[in-house]
Structure formats: structure tokens, C-alpha cells
Symmetry: D2
């Protein structure tokens, strides 16, 4: 893809110590058509500034809050301000940040999961419709060549009519109570106030659900789930098994164990 | 294993055109400690005789009915009569045949599944207890070296405490309505009067259940199953997905698709 | 295969502590058409008798030397004497044993490798031609279903014209100097006087060569080999890499490491 | 890695229709520390300009010849001129281009293979020593996580002392005479005047050699190769099998078939 000019990208979240922001930046860089020019990389302004310096950004475009970023970017001339923002914060802030940028006229790329609750998701749908901006939700695995190939096999009928769908996403890093050590990634993912109502099923089960629907082109319309927290004292599930029924009659199972073997 | 003499084995079922009888005979021959000496290989006496001749048996010990076999073998001197019988008939005759041999004092090896119904199974348990004979139910996969090795890994703690058990038994030969062509193996397995209440789940799902419990040493105590007949007009399930809960807290899923891809 | 009667088999070698004799016996038992009735299972007569008893043989047909076995079996009535003998001794006795049975009119099944030297192999060819008896050399891997399937893929053109053949037979059990512990299997295989001029390449490389030619239907006509004894003090190779050229132009490599990783 | 400023990169080769240039650009972009600012993307000046426009470069820094690029970049102020050049041309021009940039004081990254001949390689070594510039030769596979992991397993002794090294690089795209259709990548790779004395062995066998030495940390010191051109009329090898001997006594085989199965 060759665009007439590089697109200007901003980012909210993704500072030092974060995980998925760096993945978004690598993905944005790969084809040379996007340039990161602004960001609010942390709720801590000093950390945000340090992160912006790591990224060789102009300090004038590294912000302390996302509200400041919306205001200041909106005030820039059209040929300088960002074209879109990438939101890579924790689940509980996706909605307010997305809403602010959409209503200021910016397009939004947001990491999964969509929002913190079903109610937030419905409100976000309304904002997107009203503003007419692009809202893209990223599930990074759909970018892998093998996933594209699998989807093509289904689409072109190479696998025939699909009757059965089995999808697994095994992890092992939370097989012990890592959150009790203060490890940042484990801590917020095990905290219902930051992660939401679902643990492993919300964090990685969403990838399994996304891949199942993306590759097969089928929609899940019924399910029965057995969620478990194997690690003592963990308030959110670290394992889940799900029976799936798809529109059109296919059946399936989904598994998302996070407390599997350590490696 | 070296025995002081070869054991004398009889067989009910397993004549020309049958499937599992030949597997029992191969298993019995492998270590050279068992000799097949008698049998009733078919409900059709002519076919039973022809099958006995194929196996180089003395025609005097090839019988037309299992009742005749019980009577005539019981009348032979102790150093000639069979030590045990292998039952490899269709599901709906396991119980009466086993009962007859047990009550005549013979040990019994019977292919899975146990019986045609839960009620029959309970009656059989009573007969076994009363007669004090050995009753062995064969699930042939437990004999594979890799299965033994897996069980040993669990038993010796190499895999740690088991939290999650996933077991699959995919087949594809019934992905079309093969039973409508008169194919013998497909016909009785798709007929509730001969196969019992379960299709794929009873026929191959039992193997998956057996392997899960055999390898892990855990017992299933709760389950939720989603059974499907994907092939139009088939009265028994040809696919099943099951959520499993084991004693001690492990969770799992079991799959037994029989209408998977043809190969 | 149904024969009019069971074939009567004898065995030379394969007593207590031996390896390949038991494999020959299992293979012979599998289809129920062959019965082991006689044998000389060891150069030690007491061990031969004990091995015969393990196998439930008539003591009158368990012999102390192969010469005695040839003489006594030849003297039995035609409807009692063995039809063929299976030779499962060490490499250095294949030739004299085979010659004795062939010249007495018995058919011979002999385990690989053919003989101890090229000169012996040529003499054996002459004996076989003169006596008109069947001489079968066993390489047991050709019996595996996957090998048969691979050969069928080649034969029916599913793989196209073959240009390149890569064949590997990795083992690890001789990665230490096991022969120094007196382990019987290791000791004779590492002794040029019993095993012959080649170590790993003669013992397992022959299987690789056999499979390459059996599956592809091509004949090797030129080769260059790099043989190594990695274990200090071992007089025979425990590793080999070979460049292969086949009739018709295909090229290939063969590997037979015996000092690979222990497991 | 965070540098105080982004490095400025130039490129020679890699214009429209080229293959490896785009890989170098993606690799350079991934961590955000390198910026492509200049290039001579083709021996055809119009194509070079069009390629530069695709890449959003300043037209003033897109050159028609590499000699012009060396002269004009050298004349720029130190805080604007490129820091290094990436050479992604065909094998026969690696040497003159590298020499020109090195002698003008630029660092060089050059794609494999090093040069067109051993003589060129030796001259290049002399230029690098004299100029004191960095000369990096890229074999892209060393960047894969699995390769790094394998090397770490060797380095930390997890695999023990290495005795045997087997390395394969199978391809199939030249299994027909693709070069006869005018396909650009096939044409120059099959032409000894552009590719050099070796075909598959030089183009992909070099990767196999690089990975073998990179992962094991061992150096090849002797080899015997069997090179073949399976496709009629091809002047360079499209298959090769090699026996390897490493310093320290390890042995190995290397394979680089390019005329393997089409997929």
C-alpha cells in the first residue's frame, strides 16, 4: 500500500513497562506508511515524557493527560495534527479515551477487549455512529500469515462445509499467583476493577473467539461456559472451557487456560 | 509373562466380515501364552463353521449358538475346555452372552461398551459378584506404549498436579450416510436397537472417557454434553462436545467427532 | 491369508536375553497361520532348553546345536517336521546356519544383515540357487503401515518423479561406552569379530538403505560415506553420513547416528 | 535499544520488483531507531525515482547511480548525511558498491552472499581493515526467535557436547525452468554472470551454512559436496548434499534443494 503521504499517529498508553503499545508501534512501522508523532504514554506525566523521549518524539507533542492531548492536537493546523490515535491502555479506560478522541474528530484504533462492560460497549457504538469516525478494534493474531491462509482455505471451500470448530489459546504464565508479587501485567489482569468481569476468558478467550469467527466466517449464537480459578485467592478465572453453537448449525469448543504448565 | 501352560480361549462373535474379533485374536496371540480353541463366530451356523475353518480350529469345537457353546464346553474334561471366552459381538448381546458364560463358571473378556443400558450393566455387576469369575472389559487403546508412557508421566508426577484434561477422538468414516448403503459396520452402529442410546459418544467417546481416566487416574464426576447428528436422517449422534469435571477439581473437555473430514 | 494348514516354524537363536527372536515370533504369530514347533535357542544347551520351555515347546524338539536340529528335524515324518527356520543369531553365524538348513531342504527366513562379509554373501547366493529353497531376508520396518503407504505414494506417482531421497535412522543407546559394562547387545555389536566390518552403518544403516530402496523403488549405485566412532575406544563406527546417487539420477543422503542424544 | 537520535540509512538496490530490499527496510523500521533518508534503488534512474517516491523520500536524495549517491551524500552536512548504507543488489555488484561507500567513510550493511568470488572477498577484507568502517553481512534468519533460542540451548550446554549437525533449507520454486519465462528473481539467480559460481548452494546453502555455524558456534573446516542441476538446461546447481566436518570433531550434513516439491 502506497499512500500519498505518511499517516500521523498518536498513542494513549504504551509507555515504559507496558506491553501491547510496543506491538502497535511495530505494526504501524512495518510498511513505512505511518509515523508516530504524538502521545500520552502514561497517567504519570514524567513517565509519559521519558517514554516520548525514548521514541524520539518532539517534547511539545508528548502530553501528561489524554484530555490535554485531545485539546492540543485539535488546535494544531490540519497538516500537522494526528490523523488517528491508538489506544493501548487497560480495559477500564478504553471507553472514555475513545469517546474523547472520536468526538474531537479523530479516528481511533483500540486494542481488545472493546470496553469494560456491555453497557459501555453500547454507548461506544452510539458515539461511533454519531461521529462517523473510523473505530478499529485490534486482535493482533488476525495479522499472521497462517491465520490469513486458514481463512482463505475456508472462504474458497477447501475445507468443505464447516461442522466443527475447535479453538485453543493456552498460556501458562499465571499458573502461580504472580499478581501477589506486584508484577504489573499480572496485577491489573487479576483485578476485576481494572480488567472487568472476566479473567483469562476476557483477556485471551476473546482472541480465541475472534479467531474462530474470523477464520470460519461463522457467528457464535449460543454457548455454555465452565470458568475456573485454579490458583487460590484469584478473584477472576484463569481457565475456561466453552461449548459453542454457531449460526448455521456448526458446533465447537473453546479453551483458554492461563494456568497451564509454566512453559 | 510365562505361564505353566497356554490358556485356552473361546470366542463369541468375530467371524468373517467382523471387525474387532480379529483384533482380540491378534492381541491374544502376541505373547504366545493363549491359544484359541473354540468359538461361535456368527449367529449364522454356516458362517460360524467357515470362520472356524479359516482359523484352523477343530470343527467339533465350532458352535452354531452361544448356548450350545456353553453347554458343550462345560461338558468337556477340565484339561480341554476353554479357560475364558472373548465376547466381540454387537452391543445389544454383550449382557446375555456374558451372563451365560459367567454362570457356567468361565471367565469373560468383553469388548466395550459394557452393555446396552444402565440397567443391564447393574445386573451384570451382580452376576460377576455372585459367580466370582473374572470379568475384563477391553478398551484396546490402553495397550499402546504411548498411552502407558503418558500414564506413567502422570503417576510419577512428571506433569505436576493435573488441572486440565483435553481428550479427542476424531473419526471421519461416518461423514456421509454410509449406513444407507448397507455397509455392515455403519448399519448397526447407526441403529439404536443394536447400538444403544448413544452413537459416536457411545462407540468412540467411551474410548476418550476411558483414556482420560486411565491416563490421569482421575474420575469424572460431572459433565455437560452437546451431542449432534450432522448427517441428515441419522437417529444417533455423530458428534459430541463435553465439558468435564473431575473429582479433585480438574476440568476438561472431550470431543468425539465421527463426521469429521473423510480423511 | 488363509492357508490349508498352519506352517511349522523352527528358530535358531532368540533365547532368553536375546532381542530380535521375540520380534520374529510375534510377527509369526500375528495372523495365526504359523506355529513355532522347534528350536535351538542358544549355543548353551541348558539355556536353549529353558527358552524352549518358556515357549511351551515339546522338549524333544528343543535342540542343543543347530547341526543336531538339522539332523533330527530331517528325520521326522514330512507331516511333522518344520517347514522353515527363522535365523536370529549374531551376524557371524548367519551363513553356516543358513547353508545347513538350505542344504537339508528347509526354507530359510534370516534376519539382516545378510552375512558377515561380501565373500560369504556370494557363497550363500550360490547355495540358494543350487537348492532352490526360499531364502527371505527380514528388515522388519518394511512391515509398518506407514512404510507401505509411503511406497504406495511413490508407486502411484503421487509424489511425482523422485529427485531427492533423505533417510535417517537416529539412535542414542550407544552414546556412552555401554559395551564396557558387559551389556550383551552392546558388546557383540561393538566387536568386529561378531558384528563385521561396520558398526552403526551395518546394523541400522542397513535399515536406512533398505527403506530408501524399498519405498522409492530406486537402486543406489554410488555412495561416499563419512563414518565416525564418537565414543573413545570403540573399534566400530557409531555414526555415519552418506552421500547417495541412485540409478536414474536421483540424489540423496543417509544418516545413521547411534551416538545421538540418549533419548 | 534507545539511541540518542535515529540513525540515517541509505539503500542501494531494493526498488520496485526487488525482493530483499523490502525485508531490510522492514527490519530497519521495527525498533524505531533507524530512518531511511536516501537511496539509489535501481540502475534505471526513472525506476529509482519512482521507488523513492513510494517510500516518501525527499526527491533530492533519490539518486540515479551509486557513484552519484556517494558523492552527493558526502557533500551534505554531517547532521544530514546518511550514517550507513544497506546494499541489496545482485551478487555481482556487492563489491564495487561496498568499496565506494567504505572509502567515502560510510558504514555498510550488505546482504549475503559476501561477494561474487573469493578474490573479491579478499579485496573487500582489505578495504574494511584500511577504512576502519563497520561492515555487516546480513543473513536474515539469525534474527528469528527460534534461532536465538536454539543458539542459547547450545551455548548453555542444554544439548551437551555437539557431535552431529544436520541442516536443511528446502525450497521448491525452481523445480521447473522458471528462468525461461523471464521471471526476474529466477533469471539472475540462474545466470552465472550475475549469481556467481554457485546456484542453490550459493543462494540458500549459504543460509544453511550460516545457521549451522551461528547456532552451534562451531566452524566447518572440511566438506565434500554433491551438486546437481535437476532441471534440464540450467547452468547452476539446484540441489546440493554436503558432508561436513567441524573443528573439534563434530560431523554433519547440509542439504539445500531448490527443485524440491513445488510446495
Amino acid at each position: 500500500m502506497n499512500l500519498p503521504r505518511k499517516l500521523r499517529m498518536g498513542m494513549v498508553g504504551g509507555g515504559r513497562g507496558a506491553f501491547i503499545g510496543a506491538v502497535h508501534r511495530m505494526a504501524a512501522r512495518l510498511d513505512g506508511e505511518i509515523e508516530l508523532v504524538a502521545g500520552c504514554f502514561s497517567a504519570d506525566p514524567a513517565k509519559s515524557r521519558a517514554s516520548g523521549a525514548d521514541l524520539h518524539l518532539d517534547p511539545a507533542r508528548v502530553y501528561g493527560t489524554y484530555e490535554e492531548m485531545v485539546a492540543r492536537e485539535s488546535a494544531l493546523p490540519a497538516d500537522q495534527r494526528i490523523d488517528f490515535v491508538s489506544i493501548v491502555t487497560r480495559n477500564n479506560t478504553h471507553f472514555p479515551v475513545a469517546k474523547a478522541f472520536l468526538e474531537a474528530g479523530f479516528h481511533v484504533v483500540c486494542d481488545k477487549p472493546l470496553c469494560f462492560s456491555l453497557a459501555e460497549g453500547r454507548k461506544l457504538r452510539e458515539v461511533v455512529r454519531r461521529t462517523g469516525r473510523v473505530f478499529a478494534l485490534t486482535h493482533n493474531y488476525t495479522g499472521y500469515p497462517m491465520v490469513k491462509e486458514a481463512r482463505e482455505w475456508v472462504r474458497t471451500g477447501r475445507l468443505g462445509k464447516l461442522l466443527k470448530v475447535v479453538v485453543e489459546y493456552p498460556q501458562g504464565w499465571l499458573s502461580t499467583r504472580l499478581e501477589a508479587t506486584g508484577q504489573k501485567q499480572a496485577a491489573w489482569r487479576s483485578d476485576p476493577k481494572k480488567s472487568g468481569a472476566a479473567g483469562a476468558m476476557g483477556d485471551i478467550g476473546t482472541h480465541a473467539e475472534n479467531l474462530a469467527e474470523y477464520i470460519t466466517g461463522l457467528k457464535i449464537h449460543e454457548l455454555a461456559a465452565d470458568l475456573t480459578a485454579f490458583v487460590d485467592g484469584r478473584p477472576l478465572d484463569d481457565d475456561g472451557n466453552v461449548l459453542l453453537r454457531f449460526e448455521g448449525g456448526a458446533k465447537g469448543v473453546r479453551e483458554a487456560p492461563r494456568a497451564a504448565a509454566p512453559r
